[in-house]
Symmetry: C2
Subunit: 129 residues, 2 copies
DNA sequence: CATGACGTTTACGTAAACGTCAACATGCCT
DNA sequence: AGGCATGTTGACGTTTACGTAAACGTCATG
């Protein structure tokens, strides 16, 4: 066990280019082990990539993602004093996500309306209202 | 009635700069009436701005937003033949939004976990596992 | 051993989404 | 008439998130 992956395996899995993965490393988002100069990705790296791409799909910038992952890691670690601060940040992020949930529901509803207008028009095309 | 707004009123309402609004106009996202050289925004422009910003919060690019708004408008208009096409596009967009809904739920769950770890650590700080 | 396939760094290019002047017009207040 | 707020159009600058090439190392395989 102890599955590992090459950069091209990982890029294939997530359907991104190797360039992108290296770029994320430059930006401090992931830091895979090295075997000589080659990058070796382990399961935890893969999980991290999944988190990164998820956050990206939600519109967060790479630096926001990096900061957040670092912060959550530090909370997982031992930075005792920062506990309250991390909780605050989490709540800020939660607010953004809830806002997005609402936005999505609104847009879905708009789409339903447009869809209905189209379907109606296809049934009875001569309606000029 | 027939409320109208200046560019600065609108920028204030939506908490964006006038520059941004003019830029959106350059990109064909809104086209307010002119009174002389001054831009005059009416209610429908305001609604459109709201749609634009909502889509932006969901991570869509300006050109995607422009295309989509144009498309929905055309469906509202009379481009009969494109009906089926518009319905397809709507379904593609819907798939993206549903993906985002899942992403949000996943992230919210992750945040809950981190939160719990912090709270536990604050209760009993000496646990080294 | 040479020839891919795969990996590496370095560097420059680019599209998107504005910010930031500059330089000017226009309305209205005193 | 003077002055100030508010508006306008360029034009150039900036950041983000990579793409794209150049130039080279390394390993397996015919």
């Amino acid at each position: 066990m102890a599955q590992t992956y090459t950069i091209s395996e990982l890029s294939e899995q997530f359907d991104i280019t190797a360039r992108t993965i290296r770029f994320y490393e430059d930006q401090g988002l992931i830091s895979p082990r090295r075997e000589g100069t080659r990058r070796v990705y382990e399961e935890r790296d893969r999980v991290r990539m999944k988190l990164i791409l998820r956050a990206k799909r939600l519109g967060f910038t790479l630096s926001e993602i990096r900061e957040t992952l670092d912060l959550y890691d530090s909370a997982s670690g031992g930075e005792e004093a920062q506990g309250k601060f991390v909780l605050e940040v989490i709540n800020q992020h939660r607010a953004i996500l809830l806002q997005q949930q609402n936005d999505i529901l609104d847009v879905l509803q708009d789409m339903k309306n447009v869809e209905q207008r189209i379907l109606n028009k296809m049934k009875s095309p001569e309606q000029k209202v």
